[in-house]
C-alpha cells in the first residue's frame, strides 16, 4: 500500500516537472516574441511572426530580422548558458551559493577581452576576443577550484571568489588606467556594464559556437552531479572520475561565460538566481535542474533586456546593471538563508 503511494508520489513529481518545463518553454517563446516586438518601434506579436517568416513590410522585416533577432538570440543563449553554468557549479560543489559571477569568471573573462583590445591585438569583432575571454575565465575557475580543494567549505569558495573577481577588476582598471586613448577607455567602461544593444549576427556567430560547446559539455556531465550528492569520495566509489569531471565543468563554464562576455560584457547574477528559482518547482536533483535552470536563465535575461527598453530613463540602462541591481539583493537573501552554514564555516 505505502509502496504504491510512494510510486504515485514519484509519478506526480515527474508530471510536475514536465509541466514546469512546458511552462518555461512557453514563457521563453513569449518573451522572445516580446523582445522582437518592443523597442522604439513597437510591433504586435502578429506583425513580428509575419516579419520573422518574410512577410509584412520591409521596414518591419529589417527591424525584426536584422536589428532585434540577433539581440533576442543572444539574450536567450547567454541567459541560458549563465543559468546552466550556475546550476552546474552548484552541482559540482554541492553548494547553493556557487555561481560563475561569484567566482570571478565573468570579471576575469572581461579582463582577458579588455587586455586584447587595449594591446591592440584585436578589434571588438574578432575571434581573438572570445578566445581571450575563455582562456581567462578558464584560468579563474581553475584557480578557484584549486584553492578550494576537495569538499570545499562555503566560506573558502566565497572568499576565494571575491579575491579573484577583485583581482580581475583591479587588473581591468589597470589596463584602462594605462591606456593612452580616452575613447577606448570609455568604450571599455560602457562595455563592462553589460549590454545586448545593437548586436548583429556577427556577434551571434562570434559567441554562439562557444556557448553551444560549453552547454553541451556541461549537459554531458549531468548524471555525475547526481552521484556527487553523496560527496566526492562516494561519487568516486560509484565510478565517477572526479578530476575529469572538474576539468569538464571548468571548461564548459569557461566556454559559456567567456563566449557570452566577449559579446555582451559582464552580465551578472543570472547564474546564481536561475537554479534557485527552479528548485522549489523541480526539486533538488542537480541533474534535473540543469535544463530548467538554462530556460529560467534565458527567460530572466530576455525579460531584463525587455525591461531596459521599457523602463523610462534619460539614458539607456545597461542590462548588466539591471541584472545586478535585482541579483545582488537576491544574493543577500540567500546569504541570510545560508547563514547557519556560513557561520559554521562548513557547508
Amino acid at each position: 500500500m505505502s509502496f504504491q503511494n510512494a510510486m504515485m508520489t514519484a509519478d506526480i513529481a515527474a508530471r510536475r516537472r514536465s509541466s514546469v518545463m512546458a511552462a518555461l518553454v512557453v514563457l521563453v517563446v513569449l518573451l522572445a516574441l516580446g523582445s522582437l516586438g518592443i523597442g522604439p518601434v513597437r510591433l504586435s506579436p502578429v506583425t513580428v511572426i509575419d516579419a520573422l517568416f518574410g512577410g509584412g513590410s520591409d521596414v518591419a522585416q529589417v527591424i525584426v530580422r536584422e536589428i532585434r533577432l540577433p539581440r533576442a538570440i543572444l539574450a536567450f543563449a547567454i541567459g541560458a548558458v549563465l543559468g546552466l553554468s550556475g546550476a552546474a557549479l552548484q552541482g559540482l560543489l554541492r553548494n547553493p551559493l556557487a555561481a560563475p559571477e561569484l567566482f570571478g569568471a565573468p570579471q576575469s573573462a572581461a579582463f582577458g577581452a579588455v587586455l586584447v583590445i587595449a594591446l591592440g591585438l584585436a578589434d571588438v569583432r574578432s575571434y581573438a576576443l572570445p578566445v581571450a575571454a575563455i582562456v581567462f575565465a578558464f584560468a579563474s575557475v581553475f584557480v578557484l577550484l584549486a584553492i578550494a580543494g576537495r569538499n570545499a567549505a562555503l566560506l573558502i569558495l566565497i572568499l576565494a571568489g571575491l579575491a579573484i573577481s577583485s583581482l580581475a577588476g583591479a587588473a581591468t582598471a589597470l589596463v584602462m588606467n594605462l591606456s593612452q586613448n580616452p575613447f577606448v577607455v570609455l568604450e571599455i567602461a560602457f562595455w563592462l556594464l553589460g549590454s545586448l544593444e545593437d548586436r548583429s549576427f556577427r556577434d551571434v556567430m562570434l559567441a554562439l559556437p562557444f556557448i553551444a560547446a560549453g552547454a553541451v559539455i556541461l549537459l554531458s556531465q549531468r548524471n555525475a552531479f547526481r552521484a556527487l550528492t553523496l560527496g566526492e569520495e562516494t561519487a568516486q566509489s560509484l565510478g565517477v572520475d572526479i578530476d575529469r569531471l572538474r576539468l569538464m565543468v571548468i571548461a564548459g563554464v569557461a566556454l559559456g561565460v567567456g563566449g557570452a562576455v566577449a559579446v555582451s560584457g559582464t552580465i551578472g547574477f543570472i547564474g546564481l538566481v536561475a537554479p534557485h528559482l527552479m528548485r522549489p518547482l523541480i526539486g533538488h536533483d542537480p541533474a534535473r535542474l540543469l535544463v530548467p535552470s538554462a530556460l529560467a536563465g534565458a527567460a530572466l535575461l530576455l525579460a531584463a533586456d525587455i525591461g531596459v527598453r521599457i523602463i523610462p530613463s534619460t539614458s539607456d540602462i545597461k542590462v548588466g546593471v539591471l541584472t545586478s541591481i535585482i541579483g545582488v539583493p537576491f544574493f543577500l537573501y540567500l546569504i541570510m538563508r545560508e547563514r547557519r552554514a556560513l557561520g559554521g564555516g562548513v557547508a
Partner: protein
C-alpha cells in the same frame, strides 16, 4: 576457500606521512570482517586503499584481477563503499539515493531504471527495511532511518565486497544491532563485508574475522577472541577488557585504561 580480496605489502603515504605500512591480507567471500584499531591507526585509509580511492603502493587483487587494471566503473561494481557520516548534500527522495547504487551498472538516472536495476533497488530497500521511506527526503529522516537508506544504497550495488566505514557510529544500541545484523545477513549470503568500527563489543559479536591495525600496521588478525587477545587489548588499545561468552558468542567489553 580461496581468497577473493588480497593485499600484498600495501603502503599509503598521505601528505608525506606513512599512514599504512606494508599491510598484507587475504579475505574470502561470505565473511564479516571487523577492522579495528585506535584513532589514527589507518583503518579508513586501508578501506579507501582497498577500494582504490587513495593511491597505494603494493598489490591489491580482487576476484583475481589487479585493482590497478580495473576501470573506475569496474571497480565500482566490485566494491560498494559506505563512507562515514552518510553525507547527503541535496534533499533527494530516499529512493533516488538508493538508486545511485546502480550508477556503476550504467543506471545513472533514477527515473529511468531498467527492470533489472529497479529490482535490485527494491531488493536493497527490502533488506534494509526502507521501502516505506522511499518518497521521503533523506534530510527529513531520523539518524537511524538515514543510516538504513545509506546501507540500502550500498546493497543496491550488489557488489561482491562491501566496505563500510563506521556504519554504527551515532546510532542508538537498537539501530547498531540492526545495522550489524543486516551486514551479517549480507555476509551469510556470500558477500565479503568489511566494517571499520570502534565498537569492540559489536566487532567481537558479529565478525568472523577481526583485523587489528595499530600505527598503520596490521598487528593481529583472526577470530575475535584470538585477534582481540588480552595482550593485544593491552598493547594496542592500552585497556583491559571484561571477557566472557554469552549465548555462545564472544563478549569483549572494554573496561579500564592501563
Amino acid at each position: 576457500m580461496t581468497a577473493f580480496l588480497t593485499a600484498q605489502g600495501v603502503s599509503v603515504k598521505l601528505a608525506g606521512r606513512l599512514v599504512l605500512r606494508d599491510v598484507s591480507l587475504a579475505l574470502s567471500p561470505g565473511h564479516l570482517v571487523a577492522l579495528v584499531g585506535p584513532n589514527g591507526a589507518g583503518k579508513t585509509t586501508l578501506l579507501r586503499a582497498l577500494a582504490g580511492l587513495v593511491p597505494a603502493t603494493g598489490a591489491i587483487h580482487v576476484g583475481g584481477d589487479a585493482l590497478s587494471s580495473l576501470s573506475l566503473p569496474e571497480r565500482a561494481r566490485r566494491f560498494a563503499y559506505l563512507p562515514q557520516g552518510h553525507l547527503v548534500h541535496w534533499p533527494l527522495p530516499a529512493r533516488d539515493i538508493v538508486a545511485l547504487g546502480r550508477y556503476p551498472h550504467g543506471a545513472t538516472d533514477p527515473a529511468r531504471l531498467t527492470p533489472r536495476d529497479a529490482e535490485a533497488v527494491l531488493r536493497a530497500m527490502r533488506a534494509t527495511d526502507v521501502v516505506e521511506l522511499r518518497a521521503r527526503r533523506v534530510t527529513e529522516l531520523s539518524g537511524g532511518e538515514r543510516s538504513r537508506v545509506a546501507l540500502a544504497r550500498v546493497f543496491a550495488v550488489e557488489a561482491p565486497v562491501i566496505l563500510a566505514d563506521e556504519p554504527t557510529s551515532s546510532l542508538d544500541p537498537r539501530h547498531q544491532i540492526e545495522v550489524m545484523k543486516t551486514l551479517r545477513a549480507a555476509a551469510d549470503q556470500g558477500t565479503l563485508v568489511i566494517v571499520v568500527t570502534h565498537d569492540l563489543v559489536l566487532a567481537a559479536r558479529f565478525a568472523d574475522i577481526v583485523l587489528v591495525l595499530s600505527d598503520g600496521r596490521l598487528v593481529s588478525q583472526g577470530a575475535p577472541a584470538e585477534a582481540l587477545s588480552e595482550q593485544v587489548m593491552g598493547d594496542v588499545f592500552r585497556i583491559s577488557a571484561f571477557r566472557a561468552e554469552y549465548k555462545r558468542e564472544a563478549v569483549i567489553v572494554p573496561w579500564a585504561e592501563i
